[in-house]
Symmetry: C2
DNA sequence: AAAATAGGAAACCGAATGGTTTCGTAAAAA
DNA sequence: TTTTTACGAAACCATTCGGTTTCCTATTTT
């Protein structure tokens, strides 16, 4: 019950390599070795990235024989969407305000 | 034209302090000193966070006399929304698959 | 003019990050 | 059974990160 969970979803998507991994996994589940082929770094490095992704809940790791299949865990994106959606209101307001300003023409064209 | 831009939006929102700053700024524009009151750290530390946020484009910094007013730049959230929305399709599919599974009743209730 | 206020720049520090190589182990193939 | 393959754990390394203190420069206020 006392899982520390060192990495959350926000940290997980902060790294470009990890974001690319997520895109790769959106197509189909893959092993570490398969994923590694897409990156100019060692398999171990990719493995660590997968560790962080799986710790954050964004991907699932399932052992199948001697290999581990990594797959997307789309539900985990909800936390991100929820946080982002909070700012939607302001985005809308500010955008319509901007529209107003432009239409009012405070700038002599 | 050759702006390096060390910090992008993904890195910017990775830190919990910065996420909280964004929420604060969503209410109204604030100065560094005002924002600092909400955190158990020095004004300088908060100032650095604001530097990163403003570098990423998520906030705007405008000097007004001796103080700097920081405000939300909601348009910058679009990059995040866009990236996230790519995964919506998979989220939807998996969710409806799950729904199916549940409705089919593979679990004897 | 003097004092107070707002805030950034610089130097510094410990811990975290992203990467490497090396090694051990379990499963599959020969 | 021997060998190959898949992979993680560990130790290590340079750089970045989040924070501090100290100091300097503008603006306000008095």
């Amino acid at each position: 019950m006392g899982e520390a969970q060192k990495h959350d979803v926000f940290q997980a998507i902060a790294d470009p390599t990890r974001r690319k991994v997520l895109v790769l996994l959106s197509d189909k589940e893959l092993s570490v070795t398969e994923i590694s082929k897409h990156f100019p770094m060692t398999r171990t490095a990719v493995s660590k990235h997968l560790g962080i992704l799986s710790e954050s809940g964004l991907v699932d790791a399932t052992k199948k024989g001697r290999e581990t299949r990594y797959s997307l865990q789309p539900e985990a994106f909800l936390e991100l969407k929820d946080w982002l959606s909070f700012f939607d209101q302001f985005w809308d307001n500010k955008l319509s305000m901007l529209k107003h300003l432009v239409e009012d023409g405070s700038k002599t064209e």
